[in-house]
């Protein structure tokens, strides 16, 4: 019997629609794979019974002739999404026991199309991190391990990236066909690069943020982590859409993204930003980027050198804006309305003790930075200054798009690093997002496409950045890039049953 967990989303959809397989058997296969891969710590909660009920419902939809692209597709949901009656804590201790009485709009959209929830995936606490080591539930292990010089697999664990590390590991290990992520400064794209997956962050406003546990509201966006670009197109179409409950969601129709994958990018102008050549970038990444340029040129695209002069200021800007918004958003966790409460001598003392016990170190650090940059006397020097530089960064992209249609860059400045390697140095951790943060600050869509392996056999991704609401064009180029790269590698299995 063939292994149903190896199917891509589009292949599974076709098999389901032809009734070659049932949603129930597809779901069962993935639940077995989750059991087998428990040591990856990719899932915080597995909703097996709910998954089987949803799969039975999906099979009914298919039999009734009401099948959509996502019908019967078993997926992982990042813990950050509120799912009614199911664990939703953004991997934080402070939300202990919280079970929402409502469903997020993005997951509601997926369930309405018949998708099946396998469980909630691990992440960095409140999406703050780039390695998934900041979780109350412990770190996630990347299914990919480096090769030793003699060709054997290293026994050291690597990180899956973050913050959507559980979702990335779940898909990379074939324990879910796809998964939802969220991206504030690179939290979908960087894990996709570290685990050999496709990760799409759409334009700010493309998906509703209603029911997503907020980190930095002017940056947070939902998006899919999938095995292929086609899979990302199918899942994006289901997740996206206007929602009156989110005043920042944009009221324009959702296109058929899959139809945009024409394979024809002749005459398209691809910008290469010179500022993305950073010191100390490993050779493998530089080489892969050049290869990516050649692949797109061979497909008939025109390559144009562009400049995004404020690129180096994007990270420091982000580390003012995001903590400022987080300090405000996370003020709601006070031991009164939900989650953890640690008793104190007074109301204030209870707040302080609850927040000291409930938040992890990185979250506390960002709340304190955010509180400082918003405090009286410093607001202009830090916050307002950062929001002005943010305008300059967005203007850089506007000017660049007068000359080109999409932009090609590496996704991350390195491949997956070892677990524990950067955990004691917050600044070096922040630098992981150097190539993903600028597009986030400008609200633009970005996608990471797996493009090759480094000398140690670890995956590397290339990022394409599109124009606002230019997801169709972005996906079309990503599809061509994916095809040319021909990335077929899978992690060598070291977990669970090795037979």
């Amino acid at each position: 019997m063939r292994d149903l967990t190896k199917l891509t989303l589009s292949a599974a959809r076709d098999a389901l629609h032809k009734k070659d397989i049932s949603a129930a058997e597809l779901t069962e296969a993935h639940l077995r794979a989750i059991d087998d891969a428990s040591e990856l710590n990719a899932y915080i909660e597995v909703t097996a019974d709910k998954a089987m009920d949803m799969a039975v419902g999906a099979d009914k939809m298919i039999n009734a002739g009401n099948a959509h692209g996502m019908t019967g597709i078993p997926i992982g949901i990042k813990d950050l999404y509120c799912t009614k009656g199911v664990h939703s804590q953004s991997s934080s201790h402070i939300l202990d026991g919280f079970k929402p009485e409502y469903e997020s709009t993005v997951t509601s959209n997926l369930w309405a199309d018949g998708a099946v929830m396998l469980g909630k995936t691990n992440q960095d606490e409140f999406a703050m991190g780039s390695s998934n080591e900041n979780s109350h539930y412990g770190p996630v292990k990347n299914p990919w391990r480096a090769d030793k010089k003699n060709g054997d697999l290293s026994d050291k664990n690597t990180v899956p990236g973050g913050s959507s590390g559980g979702s990335a590991a779940a898909v990379a290990a074939d324990t879910s066909i796809a998964a939802t992520g969220t991206d504030t400064g690179g939290s979908i794209r960087q894990p996709a690069s570290f685990t050999g997956l496709v990760g799409l962050k759409p334009t700010y406003g493309r998906c509703s943020r209603w029911g997503m546990i907020a980190f930095a509201s002017s940056l947070d966006q939902a998006g899919p982590l999938t095995k292929t670009v086609r899979d990302a197109a199918i899942m994006m179409e289901s997740m996206a859409g206007y929602d009156p409950k989110d005043s920042t969601s944009t009221n324009i129709p959702v296109p058929n993204y899959e139809a945009a994958l024409t394979g024809d990018i002749r005459g398209l102008k691809v910008g290469i930003p010179r500022e993305y050549r950073v010191d100390g970038m490993p050779n493998g990444i530089e080489t892969l980027w050049s290869q990516g340029i050649d692949w797109l040129k061979d497909a008939g695209a025109e390559i144009i050198d562009i400049s995004l002069p404020h690129t180096k200021y994007a990270l420091p800007t982000y580390y003012i804006v995001a903590p400022a918004e987080c300090s405000s958003n996370l003020a709601r966790y006070d031991g009164v309305k939900y989650g953890l409460r640690v008793n104190g001598d007074s109301l204030d003392d209870m707040y302080k003790k609850t927040r000291a016990a409930g938040f992890g170190d990185e979250v506390k650090r960002r709340i304190l930075i955010g509180t400082y940059v918003l405090s009286a006397g410093y607001y202009d020097a830090y916050y307002l200054k950062a929001q002005r530089v943010r305008t300059l960064i967005a203007n850089d992209f506007k000017l660049a798009y007068e000359k080109c249609d999409v932009i090609l860059t590496p996704t991350a400045p390195s491949a997956a690093f070892n677990l524990g390697e950067k955990v004691s140095d917050p600044l070096s951790m922040y630098l992981n997002d150097v190539f993903t943060v600028p597009a986030s600050l400008a609200g633009l869509p970005g996608i990471s496409v797996p493009a090759g392996l480094n000398s140690q056999g670890l995956p590397l991704g290339l990022q394409l950045i599109g124009q606002a609401f230019g997801e169709e064009q972005l996906l079309a180029v990503a599809d061509v890039l994916e095809c040319a790269a021909g990335f077929k590698a899978k992690p060598k299995k070291w977990w669970g049953d090795k037979s």
């Binding site: 003012i320 989650g339 927040r355 200054k385 300059l392």
Partner: protein, 95 residues
């Protein structure tokens, strides 16, 4: 600009996070590393540049000023660590 221990204690109080005296030193070091690093923004000339308020040009939608939601107190307080008589319960604040 850098912060001293006293300032860290003040920020922690504003943020309502208990930071013990022996944690202050370490926290101060971490915050100063980050603040030193973001300091590079001062090189950028932002004279006459508007601060970003919205990444996507959009008018905020308006709706009629009508009550469209509510009426489920039980659900609202269901996740509370302590609820009494249909209200969130907190330590006594009035003597």
């Amino acid at each position: 600009m850098s912060v001293d221990k006293e300032t860290v204690a003040k920020i922690a109080n504003l943020a309502r996070i208990e930071v013990s005296d022996n944690e202050l030193e370490n926290t101060m070091g971490e915050l100063n590393n980050i603040l030193d690093w973001v300091e590079q923004l001062s090189e950028v000339n932002t004279d006459g540049i508007e601060a970003m308020t919205s990444v996507v040009a959009a008018d905020l939608p308006l709706r009629e000023d009508k009550i469209t939601d509510g009426g489920y107190r039980e659900e609202v307080i269901k996740n509370a660590p302590l609820a009494e008589h249909g209200f969130f319960a907190v330590p006594k604040v009035i003597e």
